[in-house]
Each structure stands twice: as structure tokens, then as C-alpha cells.
């Protein structure tokens, strides 16, 4: 039960190899219910290929029998065969349409499921995952890499599969018509295969490196632009330029290598295809002179050969976008393979339920830490063997120097992390046995860094609130009035309908904190944690917030982390958190003393 390493860039081993077929199978398995459609699409494609292959055969026959052979020339027979061809072509028309809609539809659905799977996984993963990965890198993975796969699916997949069928079909016809000539003309394809086999790991590596540097570059841009005001205020415009130039140059060199790698297929494939034609020409002419082989079939052969090599060359073009898609898929599967570690334990596996320390039932203890320790994956220890209890309806304050472990303690209470040792009990039961729904109903947590979604104030305060979600503005205002929250809304120009842009500068940090506060209080939790939740709010407004907190139901437990002493002076109990220890401070005076004497250990 150690805290897990979720760093995507460190778990990725050096240039791990992903075989193509398992990767494809894994992708297709995202869509089990679409199998039937896929098979139908494949059948239509086979039909289409066979029909297309029949064309050159009939043409060859016609030429041999009725055009080339001077003794049997018969133009009406030529026209008759043309009629047959027209019939075949008409059927082809229908199959082409079907194969596009069926196969393309499958690709679109696959993409849809893939996006869903990624998003689902992102939602399953714990806070630790997001703390250990750069937001910019994650966003690049999810957006750009899905887009690369998208491009492949919507533009190349169909051609890719169709090409495969054409290649197989024409190869069969070539060998069936004359196996010696067929094999000879196909032999360059073997070289193509060997060549691809050798080259493609290198190509893939180059592309992966390029994708990685692209991700790094966009993370770099995001950081610099997001922090532009510091760059300006400290005269470091050159910092932006320099950091960017570094990322840009690196990206340039990886892109060039990737480009060189991607461009190797087309000329080589083109050359080998020409060699196929050459072999056909030379050997075909030789066969005609020595064995009984008709010139008409040589023309069919040329057609089949172009049915064979043209798709192969197209595949060479598509191959790079395929490789790109596979590289993207690798980066995405990395996310998909992450397992959330905060699973809900069945009661049997959890630590036994506790009774009160005195042997009575858990009684009024809402929350209990029993011998809890916590350290980060990098080994940094934050808490060492701590035990304490918090009771229903009381107010607790966590004080201590910055970096002392207050936020970590709060995060363990809300089970954003699991302790690396010991157990956290909620209502006498191991907190890990609660489902996330139960837990989030019972525990409210106002985070240190408030986050708002793009939308309105109303949408943000009702975010995730099932009770009030359908309330009209008036009904909601009435609810807010009851709990005294309504006065806070006067801080916003347009009240409930004030517009908010998630990352914008339009509203102040204090206003953001107000929204986060209203949002949490409206959910009416049993335990409400405020992690410096009012730090940037003026003291007059803060008094209002205190009143609101006091008016919460008598059973609500409050855990307040704050630096301002006035915020915590009404606490029933104060804990001093520092250097891995959570100590009971007794009185406010004692807490102040501890703060004064407490040396920062962190």
C-alpha cells in the first residue's frame, strides 16, 4: 500500500516496443458490440476487391482472344465483354458506397469509444496522477494524440484496409494466372517487406521522440504564456525567448529526423514497384517467346501488378500516418494502463471497524486517524505515525508552519490520497470502504487553489450539486438567503449570471474563493474542510463566512486550516501540524506558543 508512481514520463521505459497487431487488437476490443458491422464491412471489401480483380481478367481475355490474335478478331465479342464489364462496374459502384459507410462508420465509432475510454480513465485516476504529471503534457497527450489517431481513422484507415485486400487479391490472381511470372513480378515485394521490417522500428522511434518533444514544447509555451506577467515584471522577455528557442530547436531536430525517417518508404517502394514491372516486362517477354503465354495476359498482368504495387505504395504513404497513430496510441495506452489505487475496499479487506478507545461504540467520533503515516513516491516523508480523533459537530483547526503537512492531512481526511501506513476511520469504519459517492457526500473540501469552470457563477456554485441543480435563479436565491450565502453574491457584478472564464483574469482570487466556499457549503457535508479557503478574502467578508459556518447544522464538523489566527480562534480544538507530527495544542495560546517556538522542519 505504498503511494503509487503515476509519472507518465518516468514509467515509460526506454523506447518500449509495441507490436502492431496486439495494439490493433486492443483498439478493436474497445468496440465489442461493433464486431458484426466490422465483419460485414470486411466482407463487402472482399467482394469489392474480387469484382475489381475480375476486370483485368476479362480485359486480358478480350485482348488475347478477340483483339491481339489476328485470326480471331471480333469486335462484337469485344463489345459483349464490355457489357459484362459494365455490369461488374455497376455492382462495384454499390459495394464501394457500402464499404465506405460501413468501414468509415466503424472507424468513427472506434474513435468515439477511444475518446470515451481515455476520458473515463482520466476521471478514474486519483489526484496523485495529476500532481505527478504536467497539465500541459497531459493535455497534449489527450488532445494531440487523439487527434493523430482521429486523422488516421477518418482519413487513412479505409484506404489502408482496402489496400490490404487489393494487395492480397491481385497477388492471388497474379500467381493463379501464371505462377512463375507471378512470383517473379511479386519478388520485389518481399524486399519491401524485409525493408519495412528493418526500418519501421527506427521510424517509430523517431516519431515517438518527435511527439515527445512536441508535447514538451507546448508545455513550455503554456508555462511561459501563463506566467507572462512575471516575465514582464522581471525584465525576462529573453527568458521566454530563450526557453522557447531551446524547445523549438529541439523540436525542429526531432521533426527533421522523424521526417527523414517517414520519407524513406515512398522512394524505396516506388523503386521496387518499378522493378516488379521490369521483371514482368523482361521475364514476360521471355516467357512469350519460349513458352505458350499470350500477350493479352501480359496486359492483364500489368494491370494486376498496378493493383498490387499501387496500394502498396499508397500504404507507404499511409504507413507513416499509421506509425504516427501507433506512436500516439502508445502514449495514450500509457494513460489507459494506469490503474487507480484508491479503490473501494470490501469490508472484509479493510481494517476492522473501531470502537472508541474506551471500548464503547465509535460514538461521536466522526473521524479518526490511527497510526497514520504518509510519504510521497519520491520518499519525502510528511506524516509519521499519527493518531487523533475528531468528533461530530465540533470545529477543529490545523495550524503549523508552511510545508508542515496540513494540506496533506486534509487530503488524507478527504481520501485524495491513501496513507502509506495506518488507517483513517470515518464513522468508525475504514474510510476505504466508503464508495466515492458516500464519501463525497459526507466530506466537503474547499481546496487551497480554487478552481472554476467556464460558465456562470450559478453553474459553478451548483457544480456537482444534485439537490439544487434544477433550481431557477429565484429558488436558488431563496436557498442562498436561508443559509446567509446570498450577501456574498453582491461581490459579483451580475450576481448568479456573472460570466466566468476558467483560466481568465476576469475575477479575483478572493472572488474565486467565495464561489468555492458557496459551492461547498451548499452541498451540506457532514465534515467540511477549509484549506486556507478564505486566505484572500477581506476580513469583513470573512466575518460573514464565519457566521455562515456557525449556522451550519449542529452535527457538522469543521476542519479549518488557516494562517490568520482570527479564523481559528473559535475552534474547539487546535492541532499543531509540523515535522511529521500532529499534536493537540490544547488552547489558542498554546498553539501560538507552538507556532512561535516551532522550528520549520520541512
Amino acid at each position: 500500500m505504498s503511494s503509487k508512481n503515476y509519472n507518465l514520463n518516468s514509467t515509460a521505459g526506454p523506447a518500449q516496443k509495441t507490436a502492431i497487431w496486439p495494439a490493433l487488437r486492443k483498439l478493436i476490443n474497445l468496440l465489442p458490440e461493433q464486431r458484426g458491422r466490422l465483419y460485414l464491412a470486411l466482407f463487402i471489401m472482399v467482394l469489392y476487391s474480387v469484382l475489381t480483380m475480375l476486370g483485368p481478367y476479362i480485359i486480358g481475355q478480350t485482348i488475347t482472344r478477340y483483339i491481339q490474335d489476328k485470326t480471331h478478331r471480333d469486335f462484337s465479342a469485344v463489345l459483349r465483354n464490355c457489357g459484362w464489364l459494365l455490369l461488374i462496374y455497376s455492382v462495384t459502384l454499390v459495394t464501394v458506397y457500402l464499404r465506405t459507410t460501413l468501414m468509415g462508420g466503424f472507424g468513427q465509432r472506434l474513435l468515439f469509444s477511444l475518446r470515451n475510454a481515455i476520458f473515463n480513465k482520466l476521471q478514474e485516476l486519483p489526484v496523485a496522477f495529476f500532481a505527478q504529471n504536467k497539465a500541459g503534457d497531459l493535455i497534449s497527450r489527450v488532445n494531440n494524440d487523439t487527434d493523430k489517431i482521429n486523422q488516421f481513422f477518418s482519413q487513412s484507415l479505409m484506404q489502408f484496409v482496402a489496400s490490404l485486400f487489393f494487395i492480397t487479391g491481385s497477388a492471388i490472381f497474379l500467381i493463379a494466372l501464371n505462377w512463375r511470372l507471378g512470383l517473379a513480378a511479386l519478388s520485389p515485394a518481399l524486399l519491401m517487406w524485409i525493408f519495412t521490417k528493418f526500418v519501421s522500428p527506427w521510424v517509430k522511434r523517431k516519431n515517438a521522440a518527435n511527439l515527445k518533444s512536441t508535447g514538451a514544447m507546448s508545455a513550455e509555451i503554456q508555462e511561459s504564456l501563463g506566467n507572462f506577467k512575471v516575465v514582464l515584471a522581471f525584465n525576462r522577455r529573453d527568458y521566454f525567448r530563450k526557453r522557447f528557442a531551446e524547445a523549438n530547436t529541439h523540436n525542429y531536430s526531432t521533426a527533421i529526423s522523424a521526417g527523414i525517417a517517414n520519407n524513406i518508404y515512398i522512394p524505396v517502394f516506388g523503386f521496387l514497384a518499378s522493378m516488379g514491372q521490369l521483371v514482368l516486362l523482361a521475364y514476360g517477354v521471355y516467357l512469350i517467346t519460349t513458352v505458350h503465354f499470350e500477350v493479352g495476359f501480359l496486359i492483364s498482368f500489368f494491370l494486376y501488378l498496378s493493383y498490387f504495387y499501387d496500394p502498396l505504395r499508397q500504404m507507404a504513404t499511409l504507413w507513416s500516418s499509421f506509425q504516427l497513430a501507433i506512436a500516439s496510441w502508445d502514449r495514450i495506452s500509457q494513460i489507459l494502463s494506469m490503474e487507480p489505487d484508491l479503490v473501494t475496499l470490501p469490508a472484509a479487506e479493510a481494517a476492522p471497524a473501531v470502537n472508541g478507545a474506551d471500548g464503547s461504540a465509535a460514538g461521536s467520533a466522526l473521524l479518526e486517524f490511527s497510526d497514520v503515516s504518509f510519504h510521497y513516491p519520491d520518499g519525502k516523508e510528511v506524516l509519521r505515525h499519527n493518531s487523533f480523533r475528531m468528533e461530530k459537530g465540533k470545529t477543529y483547526a490545523l495550524v503549523g508552519p508552511t510545508g508542515g503537512g496540513k494540506t496533506t492531512t486534509a487530503s488524507l481526511i478527504a481520501r485524495l490520497y491513501d496513507p502509506t501506513g495506518g488507517t483513517v476511520y470515518l464513522n468508525g469504519k475504514d474510510i476505504r470502504t466508503y464508495t466515492p459517492v458516500e464519501r463525497s457526500q459526507k466530506i466537503g473540501f474547499i481546496l487551497q487553489e480554487p478552481f472554476l469552470f467556464t460558465g456562470t457563477v450559478k453553474e459553478n456554485i451548483l457544480y456537482g450539486n444534485e439537490q439544487y441543480v434544477n433550481y431557477s435563479d429565484e429558488a436558488l436565491t431563496a436557498v442562498l438567503q436561508q443559509s446567509g450565502l446570498e450577501t456574498l453574491l453582491s461581490r459579483f457584478d451580475e450576481g448568479l449570471s456573472t460570466k466566468i472564464v476558467s483560466t481568465g483574469d476576469g475575477i479575483s482570487l478572493g472572488q474565486k474563493q467565495l464561489i468555492a466556499f458557496i459551492r461547498a457549503v451548499l452541498r451540506n457535508p457532514e465534515l467540511l474542510i477549509l484549506d486556507e479557503a478564505t486566505a484572500n478574502i477581506d476580513t469583513v467578508t470573512e466575518k460573514l463566512l464565519e457566521d455562515i459556518l456557525r449556522r451550519l447544522p449542529a452535527t457538522t464538523t469543521r476542519v479549518i486550516i488557516a494562517h490568520r489566527l482570527n479564523t481559528i480562534e473559535n475552534a474547539d480544538e487546535i492541532f499543531f501540524v509540523n515535522g511529521g507530527e500532529i499534536l493537540r495544542a490544547g488552547s489558542l495560546e498554546q498553539a501560538v506558543d507552538m507556532l512561535l517556538q516551532g522550528k520549520r522542519v520541512s
Binding site: 521566454f240 516506388g270 485524495l416 481546496l447 487553489e449 478552481f451
Partner: protein, 613 residues
């Protein structure tokens, strides 16, 4: 047929008066968009600095395509040579081999150059953009938004890169191939050629019509993808909140809505394309039929050789692809043009005029005269006037959204006031050379801004910082113990958004960053919010000791720590309500008294702390 041809022909240059003139016109059909879109900056002008490279590129691709065109001709000759029992078979085989090698070499050559040129252009464009952006002021960034600039630097540059790496060569070589094949076919047998070449306008026009439809769909697809990305981004940035509230289901349904829309649109695009492909396949099949029947007729009547007949078949397969390529490229070109237009907007944004030339060592006198500042429609500051004496301590207090932070942004020249003026040492702020000004004014921002670099680089962020100045700043910000406890000390890299640091640690690093430039004026924005009282007291005492004569202007919430300040300014909803010392305000300003009362219960302890020092 000829009716259809007329329209696109008009916009095109007059075709040569050969038999090929009829079918040549419609090439303008799919090819029209690049020529027919004069609005916006010309994409091709972007290539000017790389002219030599581009010419070489096109030359190589023409040669390689030219040889390629010759191959079916050779094959045809080979077949004829055999049927006519001629003995130059060996020569033909060698020619064929030579041609294949030539194609290989030239193709590879132009592809390498293509990669090189496209990446060069992309890199240079990014550099130019970054250079431009870096010269802009804060107002520009607020106006344009960093999200848009990120798109400019990544997606937009990528689409221009795609234009060069795919469109330029493909477009010209496709036109080259189509014309080349047409000419070759006409020289072989013009009657048959006419039948075959007729497919060019049919496919071209169908393609053009479909593309116009699809382009509108692509545009809405892009919007939906943006929407999808927004949902994803917010779910990543708000990950902690979502887990606290357990609103994953809600996020998922938001996402599902967008994703379902994306699926629907994808399928609509697909349906449109699905109607296109059968037309192409069927039309080219009809051409095959024409060759077989009409060509067969000519061969039977000994009007055409069997080799030429084969050549026709081979050329037909070579003809279809370039037509499609032109269509697809027109799409890429349209996308790239839109991107280039957006990029040009940034590239051509005028440099903020740096009028200030005054370089002077600041004493620290500050004066605001009737400063008004509007943000959007709303006045965030209204006629604010006050003076700060050099070396004094001034506090600005006031409720949330009073305009305090905006005031500090004005004082650091990040924003400019809409009315009124700001003076430093009696000189308007606008007259100062910004670099020298910023070197003397330290600003600790309210929000934690920590760069993804070592602590040393974060603190010594300004270039002028000496080792000694940095150490003094670290000591002043009470960071020494913290830094010493780190395994790598100052060289420990802190992560983006500073997630591995506590709020107070981030705040103190930011203070050290501001102090490290040894400022004459220090501006603090709610610095005390995330730092505990004890540390705050120590830090302020350190500042007084280590930076004598420093002018301090602090936005704060806490009256207890500013009671001894020379001046306290009370700001409410953008207006200056009162100013004066603590005791003056206590006597005259009821709002101030109210704030004081709200904090009074704790002042007892704060006093105790002061005494215990």
C-alpha cells in the same frame, strides 16, 4: 459537358490552342481555391525567403514525375518491340532500369528537401512568433489570450507546415502529371485520348462540389473538437475539485455530449465522402471500358499498336490519383491560409511603443493623480489619487474586488491607466525606460507563479541577480532552512504549477524572487495570506534590516501588521474611501473601524507575538 467547363475556365488563364484545350480548363475546378482566394496574406509569399530551396524542390519533383511518365511508354515500346520481333529488348530494359533508378534518386531527393524546408519554415515561423509575443505588453496578452497564442504556435504552425510538406509539391506535380499525361495520350491517339481525358472534369467537378460541402462540415468539426478539448482541459486542471465532489459522472456527461456531437458530425462528413468515391471509381472504370472498346476497335483495324493500347491502360491508372490530390490539397491550402491569417494577426500586431527613455535611480516617491482604470465595461478604479513618500511603508486594504490588484498592475506598468497618470520621483511612469524601471521595482504576485526550473533559477529569475543578492533574498524570505533541508538544495527542480511546494513556500519563493533584484520599491499583493503570522513577522523584520530605505507598498487584509505604517489607503469598489495613519483612520473612517473590529479579537495575540520578539 462543355457548359460545365466554362465557368472554371473563365477564372483560368487561356489554355493553349491545342486539342487539349477543352479538357484543360476544368483543372481549374479543383485547383481553383488557391488562385481564387486573394483575401488575406498570401501563403505563397511565406515561401519567398526559401525561394532557392523551393525551386530546387519543384525541379526535382518535376524530373522524377517526368521520368515516371515515361515508364508506361517504355513498357508499351517493349511490348511492341516484341510483337514486331525487333531486337532492342535489352536496350529497353536498361532504359527502364535507368529510369527507375532516376525516379528513386529524385523522389528521395525532393522528399528530403521538402521535409527540411517545411520544418525550417515552421521553426522560423515559431521563432518569429515567439519573438513578437515576447515584445508585447501585458495588455496584448490579456486581449489575445494565452490559449489563442498557444494555438498559433502549435496547431496553426503545423497546418502551415503541412501545406509546405504536402501541398506545394503535390499541387504543382499533380498539375504537371495531369498535363503531361494528357499530352502523351493525345500524341498517341487523340480520339481515344479525348475519351480518357474527359474523366478529368467529371471527377474534378464532383470532387469540388463535395469538398465545398465538406469544408463547412470540417469547420463545425473543428469547433466541436475545441469544445471537447475545453472539457478535457478543465477536467485535468480541476482534477482535485472533481475528486473532492466526486463529480466524475457530471464531467463524463459533459464530455459525452460533446463526443456524441463529434461522432455525429464525423458520420456526416463520412456520408458526404461516401457519395464521392463511387463516382470516382465508376468514372475511371468507364474510361477503362472506353479504352477496351474504342482502343480494341483501333487495334483490330490496325490503327493503333498493342503497345500503345497497354500504355493507355497504364496512363489511366496514373491519371486518377493527381486529380484527387489537387482536391485534397485545396483543403490543406484553405486550412493553412486560415492559420496563416491568424498568425499574421500576431506577427503584424504593432510593437508597443516604448516611449520611455528615462533611466534613473529611483528614490521611491510615488504619486497617483486621478487614476481611472476600466476593465471591459466596468471601472475597476475611479479617480484614485495618493502619494507615497520614499522609504515609507504604505498599505492598501479593502474588500474583495476593490481593485487592489489592478492598482498594483498599474504601478508596475503591466497595465496602463485609462485616465490620470502615475509619477515616480515626480516623473511620469510612461517616461521611464521599462527595463531599468523593472530592475528597481520588485513585485510579489498574489497567485503562485513558479517556473518549472530549479529553485535557484526561480529566485534569480532576473538576470542581474548576483549570488550575494540571492542569498540575502533567501535569508530574508526565511527560506534558508527549507532550502538547506532539500537533498539538492537550491538546485532542486520544482514542478509546473508548483505542486510539490506548499502555498506558503511558493509565496516565499516569489518574495525572494522580488527581493533578489535588490529593489528600491517593493510591491506585495496579499503576501501574508498564505504565510503564517510568525514567519510573516520574521520576514518583515528581515526586510527592514536587510533592505534599508526600501519603499514598501503592501496590499493586505491584516490590520495588525500595518498599524505602524505611515499610510493606510482604504479602497472599496474602485474608489479610495480614506487614507491616513492607523490612528487617523480609526478616528475618522467608519469602514476602517468596521474592518478593524472584524479582526480585533485576534489582535491580542498578534500583540503578544510582537512583544515576545
Amino acid at each position: 459537358m462543355s457548359q460545365q467547363n466554362q465557368q472554371p475556365t473563365k477564372s483560368h488563364t487561356a489554355p493553349p490552342g491545342k486539342p487539349g484545350s477543352g479538357p484543360k480548363g476544368p483543372q481549374g475546378g479543383p485547383g481553383a481555391p488557391p488562385g481564387g482566394k486573394p483575401k488575406g496574406p498570401n501563403l505563397f509569399a511565406l515561401l519567398k525567403p526559401y525561394k532557392g530551396m523551393v525551386i530546387l524542390l519543384l525541379l526535382l519533383s518535376f524530373i522524377s514525375n517526368g521520368i515516371n511518365l515515361w515508364l508506361p511508354r517504355l513498357t508499351g515500346k517493349g511490348i511492341d518491340a516484341f510483337t514486331h520481333q525487333q531486337q532492342d529488348m535489352n536496350l529497353i530494359i536498361w532504359k527502364f532500369f535507368g529510369a527507375a533508378v532516376g525516379v528513386f534518386v529524385f523522389t528521395w531527393g525532393y522528399m528530403l528537401i521538402q521535409t527540411y524546408v517545411s520544418e525550417r519554415v515552421a521553426r522560423d515561423l515559431r521563432t518569429r512568433l515567439a519573438e513578437r509575443i515576447s515584445r508585447q505588453n501585458y495588455a496584448f496578452l490579456q486581449r489575445v489570450s494565452s490559449a489563442q497564442l498557444l494555438t498559433n504556435l502549435t496547431a496553426d504552425v503545423d497546418s502551415i507546415k503541412m501545406f509546405i510538406s504536402q501541398a506545394v509539391v503535390s499541387l504543382f506535380s499533380s498539375i504537371f502529371v495531369i498535363i503531361g499525361i494528357s499530352i502523351l495520350l493525345f500524341t498517341i491517339k487523340w480520339q481515344l485520348a479525348l475519351c480518357v481525358v474527359a474523366i478529368i472534369p467529371i471527377i474534378g467537378i464532383t470532387f469540388y462540389v463535395v469538398l465545398i460541402k465538406v469544408r463547412a462540415l470540417f469547420k463545425s468539426a473543428r469547433e466541436i473538437i475545441d469544445w471537447l478539448n475545453k472539457v478535457i482541459n478543465e477536467s485535468i486542471l480541476g482534477a482535485a475539485l472533481i475528486r473532492v465532489i466526486h463529480s466524475q459522472q457530471l464531467e463524463y456527461s459533459k464530455f459525452l455530449e460533446a463526443n456524441a456531437k463529434a461522432l455525429g458530425l464525423g458520420q456526416r462528413i463520412l456520408k458526404t465522402f461516401a457519395s464521392l468515391i463511387p463516382v470516382i471509381v465508376f468514372t475511371s472504370n468507364l474510361a477503362t471500358l472506353a479504352i477496351l472498346s474504342l482502343g480494341g476497335h483501333y487495334v483490330i483495324g490496325d490503327n493503333m499498336s498493342l503497345g500503345d493500347f497497354t500504355a493507355f491502360n497504364n496512363y489511366l491508372t496514373m491519371l486518377i490519383f493527381p486529380i484527387l490530390v489537387i482536391g485534397f490539397m485545396s483543403n490543406i491550402i484553405a486550412q493553412a491560409s486560415a492559420s496563416y491569417m491568424r498568425i499574421s494577426g500576431v506577427l503584424n500586431a504593432p510593437d508597443p511603443v516604448e516611449k520611455g527613455t528615462l533611466v534613473k535611480e529611483l528614490d521611491g516617491d510615488i504619486e497617483l493623480k486621478d487614476v481611472t482604470m476600466t476593465y471591459g465595461e466596468k471601472k475597476v478604479l475611479k479617480d484614485v489619487s495618493f502619494k507615497v513618500a520614499a522609504g515609507s511603508k504604505t498599505a492598501v486594504i479593502g474588500p474583495t474586488a476593490a481593485g487592489k490588484t489592478q492598482l498594483l498592475y498599474l504601478l508596475t506598468a503591466l497595465n496602463q491607466p485609462n485616465e490620470g497618470a502615475i509619477y515616480f520621483d515626480g516623473q511620469p511612469l510612461a517616461d521611464y525606460q521599462k527595463e531599468s524601471f523593472h530592475r528597481q521595482v520588485g513585485f510579489v504576485f498574489q497567485d503562485s507563479i513558479i517556473f518549472n526550473m530549479s529553485i535557484r533559477e526561480n529566485i534569480a529569475f532576473s538576470e542581474t541577480v548576483t549570488e550575494e543578492a540571492m542569498n540575502r533574498a533567501i535569508e530574508t524570505a526565511e527560506l534558508k532552512d527549507f532550502v538547506d533541508a532539500l537533498p539538492n538544495g537550491l538546485d532542486t527542480v520544482v514542478s509546473e504549477r508548483g505542486t510539490s511546494l506548499s502555498g506558503g513556500q511558493k509565496q516565499r519563493i516569489m518574495l525572494a524572487r522580488a527581493l533578489a533584484i535588490q529593489p528600491r520599491i517593493l510591491l506585495l499583493d496579499d503576501f501574508t495570506a498564505r504565510v503564517d503570522t510568525q514567519t510573516e513577522e520574521n520576514i518583515l523584520a528581515n526586510v527592514r534590516r536587510n533592505y534599508p530605505g526600501l519603499t514598501l507598498l503592501s496590499v493586505t487584509q491584516k490590520i495588525a501588521s500595518i498599524e505602524d505604517y505611515e499610510q493606510i489607503i482604504l479602497l472599496m469598489e474602485g474608489e479610495m474611501i480614506a487614507s491616513g495613519t492607523h490612528s487617523q483612520l480609526m478616528a475618522t473612517c467608519p469602514e476602517y473601524v468596521q474592518i478593524y473590529q472584524s479582526q480585533r479579537s485576534t489582535s491580542h495575540y498578534e500583540q503578544q507575538e510582537l512583544q515576545s520578539k
